[in-house]
């Protein structure tokens, strides 16, 4: 007898979509998410395509559907340890890290006020700091704080615990390991930004005012470290000249040997963020080919109607900085054939999407390509969705989630 339930690994847009589609036609669904929150990369954006919605907009409705559906069970801060069995009959071992804050939490924030220790914020890609007791963003789901127990000493932990009026701080919380029996697995582990410290000729991670596109997203997001105002990291000054470096580590056999599909659009979106805040800022986008697939071409046409925006064909291959920490970009304009050094206040590297599974193996021997994308696995009962499969925008990610739900259902039904 086949097991009817479905495991969804990854609670980003693809995973949530797949889980809801399957649950709403009657399947029991488990979502296993490694972060303390659902929503994945979308939750970190200021706006997302195609309609430039804030992430709370699309995610809020999904969270409502999850809350209302008793067939969906969510495990955050959890990872898949191992998968055994086969299609229709998987045995999955899950390991859940302790959150140290239980379901009594009302997200009042008193624990964060009581905490003194601050560390670099992973959610903000290091552009900001967070307390040892924290919630990543205001609309986080589940609405529950996290305690970074290892970052605090015993005294601080005690004062955090006593600050909580609801007895939600559980210092004796332990790592849990448990098994789930499922019929099929949707693999929606998504992507991570390509590690820009590998781009040494572009000063990635070295130069203060050279940020990645995802860092820029956090700088522009209202719930980000600067409250949504784009300021350059070194001195919090308002940038007047900003450059975007496309294909930073993408379409490059020394880094990611493929096009991440959406970075050109992301940079054009970032140009719009800047336009709202700094109508007079001079913005330059350096590209190899400006790729604006399908209807995004219209977005480009509208964005480039701006005399203060220049689009320059030529890949930036060297960035240095001057004494005032202004990045100096060296580029050859391939149209004019002039190589020059250009000074900016801030440079954004449009880094690509690397599959989260790069360098690891998806269970049950699901085939992967050399970059770490899952390129099959349906026969093994492992159905990949979203950016675990290929670089996608949010709209196509949702479609791929629905499609994966369909295949997952087909895997468990009719056996």
């Amino acid at each position: 007898m086949s097991n009817n339930s479905i495991l969804v690994v990854g609670g980003g847009f693809a995973g949530i979509t797949a889980a809801l589609e399957a649950a709403e036609v009657g399947h029991e669904v488990y979502i296993v998410e490694t972060n303390p929150y659902l929503g994945g990369r979308v939750a970190q954006l200021k706006h997302y395509f195609p309609k430039m919605c804030p992430p709370s907009c699309g995610l809020e409705i999904q969270f409502q559907r999850i809350k209302k559906n008793p067939r969906v069970k969510v495990f955050t801060m959890a990872d898949v340890e191992s998968v055994s069995g086969g299609p229709g009959n998987f045995d999955v071992k899950i390991k859940q890290r302790p959150r140290y804050i239980n379901e009594k939490c009302t997200a009042c924030g008193d624990c964060a006020k009581a905490a003194n220790t601050t560390v670099s914020s992973e959610f903000d890609f290091g552009t900001g700091k967070r307390k040892a007791a924290y919630i990543t963003h205001p609309f986080a789901f589940p609405q529950r704080y996290v305690l970074d127990k290892d970052a605090c000493d015993a005294g601080e932990l005690e004062s955090i615990k006593s600050a909580c009026a609801y007895d939600a701080v559980a210092l004796d919380d332990k790592e849990k390991v448990f098994d789930l029996k499922v019929g099929s697995v949707v693999w929606a582990t998504g992507w991570k930004p390509y590690d820009m410290s590998k781009l040494d000729n572009l000063g990635g991670g070295e130069l203060a005012n050279v940020v990645s596109n995802m860092q820029f997203e956090r700088l522009a997001a209202p719930n980000g470290p600067t409250g949504g105002k784009v300021l350059r990291p070194s001195d919090k000054a308002e940038p007047k000249r900003i450059a975007f470096v496309q294909c930073a580590g993408s379409r490059d056999q020394n880094h990611l040997n493929y096009c991440s599909y959406i970075c050109c659009m992301a940079s054009l979106k970032h140009v719009r963020y800047l336009r709202e805040q700094y109508p007079d800022a001079a913005v330059t986008v350096y590209y190899i080919d400006l790729r604006t697939p399908g209807r995004y071409d219209k977005f480009k046409a509208m964005t480039e109607q701006n005399p203060k925006l220049s689009l320059v064909k030529g890949k930036v291959a060297a960035i240095a900085e001057d004494a005032a920490k202004n990045p100096i970009v060296t580029v050859e304009n391939a149209i004019t054939g002039i190589k020059s050094d250009e000074q900016f206040d801030m440079v954004v590297l449009a880094t690509g999407m690397q599959p989260s599974m790069a360098g690891a193996q998806v269970p049950a021997g699901a085939p992967m390509d050399e970059e770490g994308f899952v390129v099959g696995g349906d026969e093994q009962g492992i159905i990949a969705a979203g950016c675990a499969k290929q670089p996608l925008d949010v709209m196509k990610t949702a479609q791929s989630g629905t499609s994966a739900a369909m295949k997952a259902i087909q895997t468990v039904v009719g056996r």
Partner: protein
């Protein structure tokens, strides 16, 4: 009327280029990373991105007359950072190989020098010449491995308990010097035509690359400036690449070049001493003063090991080995996915290796007085030196002349500044 430019691609040329080392040029997508990371490329119309697109389009005229291929010293940084593995550095090297093949007259030599079979065929020429001399001399002395003693009146005379004397078996006056003199003259004439072709090509391309705004030097002062800076001090080469490997390569190349200069000087001293001192001044003019005697002594071989000239020659040989080891090691360590090595590269290293090893070997075997090893080694040495010298314009060593001329010309057009302006 529309004013469209129709590209007339020379597909045969593209295929030729791919064959001589530009095999990956079609992978290029014109991102211009190469032009930016090149430490030598000028700001206006930098290379090698434009060469990549010309090559893809088959614009032969632009490429074969392109002066920028000689500005490149091939550190390979462009190919290392190329996102597509299109190897722009290899394309420029391939274009230079093409120039070696086609600039000098007697195109068939260029064709033969482009592959190992042809080169071996060309090696038959000196091999036959020297074998002929050897067998004639062997018939005369009654042995192929004669030993000699000095006889004041008749030069070297065979003697069973004598010594290995190369000048006895291959007398310089009648065989070595005239043959190498002829080979040298042949090489110079071919180079002369090659350089004429090179300059004519540069002049075909409109000279638009002037950024300096400085007054243009004449060709003569540009050439002197180039020899002083780029050649003798390796000023361009030293700037080519920043890695440790690049620094080592430039130093190794410089030492190898100094070795050649030293050995050229030694050869010059011997030739002057022998022909000018001993033959012209002593023999023809009948002079016998002290300086004349000293000069003719300098031209007399074999030299004692303590002779200043001999010491210098040995230093040259050691420097040559040092340079060769550096350059060979580096070439072996190249990642073939980033930078390839063509027949031209290996031939030049190979022939210099043979010259160095047989040269040193011939000296050692002579000192050990082992005729059976010494004469064959010397024979191979003669063949290898002939190869290097006579076919120089068609080999990679042709860069010695072509690059020097191109750099000097580039200064007259303002493409690169004079040494002092750097």
């Amino acid at each position: 009327m529309s004013n469209n430019v129709r590209v007339q691609p020379d597909l045969k040329f593209v295929k030729e280029l791919q064959a001589v080392g530009g095999d990956s040029l079609k992978k290029c997508y014109q991102c211009a990373t190469c032009s930016v990371v090149c430490p030598l490329s000028p700001a206006d119309s930098p290379y090698p991105r434009k060469e990549m697109v010309w090559a893809q389009w088959g614009l032969k005229d632009r490429l074969v007359n392109d002066i920028d291929i000689w500005l490149c010293h091939n550190c390979g940084t462009c190919s290392d950072l190329c996102p597509r593995g299109a190897k722009p550095g290899d394309l420029l090297a391939a274009l230079r190989n093409m120039a070696y093949r086609q600039l000098a007259p007697l195109g068939f030599i260029g064709k033969l020098m482009s592959n190992i079979g042809g080169t071996l065929m060309l090696a038959v020429v000196p091999a036959v010449i020297y074998l002929l001399i050897w067998s004639m001399q062997a018939a005369k002395f009654g042995t192929a491995l004669p030993k000699f003693v000095a006889d004041g009146a008749h030069g070297w005379v065979p003697a069973v308990d004598g010594a290995v004397i190369y000048g006895g078996l291959f007398p310089g006056d009648y065989f070595i010097d005239p043959i190498f003199g002829a080979a040298f003259a042949f090489m110079v004439i071919c180079f002369f035509v090659g350089v004429k072709n090179l300059l004519a090509g540069f002049k075909k391309v409109p000279a638009v690359y002037d950024l300096t705004g400085a007054e243009k030097p004449c060709f003569c002062s540009a050439l002197i400036d180039t020899i002083k800076n780029e050649v003798l001090q390796h000023t361009q080469f030293n700037d080519c690449g920043e890695d440790d490997a690049d620094v080592k390569r430039a130093f190794g190349h410089k030492m190898l070049m100094y070795a050649f200069i030293i050995l050229l000087f030694v050869t010059g001293v011997v030739a002057t001493g022998h022909w000018f001192g001993a033959w012209f001044l002593e023999h023809i003019m009948g002079l016998e003063s002290g300086p004349v005697k000293l000069l003719s002594l300098l031209g007399s071989t074999p030299m004692p090991q303590h002779s200043v000239i001999k010491v210098l020659a040995n230093i040259g040989a050691l420097l040559m080995l040092f340079g060769l080891i550096r350059l060979t090691k580096r070439r072996q360590s190249l990642d073939p996915g980033k930078q390839g090595s063509s027949f031209y590269d290996w031939y030049l290293l190979g022939v210099i290796w043979v010259i160095a090893l047989t040269g040193i070997g011939a000296e050692i075997f002579r000192l050990l007085n082992v005729a059976v090893l010494a004469y064959p080694t010397y024979f191979v040495h003669l063949v290898a030196v002939f190869m290097l010298l006579a076919y120089l314009p068609w080999s990679k060593l042709g860069h010695l002349v072509y690059r020097t001329v191109a750099l000097a010309y580039a200064k007259t057009t303002g493409r690169i500044p004079m040494g002092a302006a750097k």
